[in-house]
Point group: C2
Chain length 212, copies 2
């Protein structure tokens, strides 16, 4: 599975990149820079092209977190991303909203950049995801050993990995470690030919899945 991280600021360019790569990608991930610049309606507009993941890395108290999730789902997001370190109560508050809309919740177990999240906390986050019934987890492509560990603990949960390309993660090691999908941003939208690069990523993913 190939997820396009659409971290642009310009609405027209974002929609254009989504259109020309749509044939090769499975989902579109949006983050605050685009949503704040373009307005929340961008989620609805992109959802007409591909299912949208609102990568809001929700990390607040349950009350605020459920409000943020509600706005994203109301605009058509298929999933929201929540920071697992905030603990069960916040995750549960977002899951409750997701259930109302029939949508999904993915937990970040660790960032691709260095952070203060410890290994034992990542494990605890995976356990929370399983216990509460989250639909996926986000594990860094730059740390394939964390993906492997996540797959060991959580056999049946979707694992998506950002950080492939510019940030140093490699498609092969990420998929071999057990990820279901890779999230690629700058390597695609900053290239001269985004459609070609997206197709190449798609083909590499397929190739690895088929074992050649």
């Amino acid at each position: 599975m190939l997820i396009l991280a659409l971290d642009l600021l310009d609405k027209r360019r974002a929609l254009e990149i989504a259109e020309i790569t749509s044939e090769y990608i499975d989902m579109i991930k949006v983050n605050y820079p685009l949503v704040l610049s373009a307005g929340i309606e961008i989620i609805s507009e992109l959802s007409e092209i591909k299912p949208v993941i609102a990568d809001f890395k929700i990390a607040d108290i349950p009350y605020i977190s459920s409000l943020i999730a509600d706005i994203a789902f109301k605009k058509g997001a298929k999933a929201v991303i929540v920071h697992g370190f905030v603990g069960e109560n916040t995750v549960k508050s977002v899951l409750d909203v997701a259930k109302k809309y029939g949508r999904e919740v993915y937990l970040v177990i660790e960032l691709t950049s260095e952070s203060l999240i410890l290994e034992m906390q990542s494990d605890e986050i995976i356990r929370i995801a399983l216990k509460l019934g989250c639909h996926g987890i986000i594990a860094p492509a730059t740390k394939p050993e964390r993906i492997k560990r996540a797959r060991e603990i959580a056999r049946n949960i979707k694992i998506f990995s950002p950080g492939v390309g510019i940030q140093g993660g490699e498609v092969e090691s990420v998929l071999n470690a057990g990820a279901d999908g890779i999230i690629v941003g700058r390597s695609i939208y900053n290239s001269k030919d985004p459609a070609r690069i997206a197709r190449e990523f798609r083909d590499r993913i397929r190739g690895i899945r088929l074992g050649y």
Copy 2:
């Protein structure tokens, strides 16, 4: 210092509450639910009433975090709130943007709700705030012992405490623990007379400061 947490969804109502309480409050804190509903321009509009803290609890990789901060500052925010647990690189990336605009950065050391952030990680976050030159930290009113601890480690940094009122924090214990300002939301904007409640909070803060 009294900071109004303006966690409403309706733009007109938010501006109205800001106006009628402006005489008693020192700053306005906005979070994503309002900004996503009303649009990013709400930061500029509220900044004409009182200095605005963009409580975006930024918790992403440096690249994305600096983009989010840039948008908030460009719209006139006086400060942005960053999750300290994301570590030095992200905090530094936001501080660099703040410097460009002559604005401020506050770090969350712990949430008012339970989370997986450990005590030793809170201490580490305070040390990062001091080392990198952040302007303030956000410590939970519901855990005055954490505020006291923060004040011990960081003698000269501003400490702001959310969670007073509905969430259970008490003005007296928060200020006596060493906080410089309290952040109050629902107790004010959900009351029948927001101006009166804001004035009462302001008066209590003044009374405690003067020792009666």
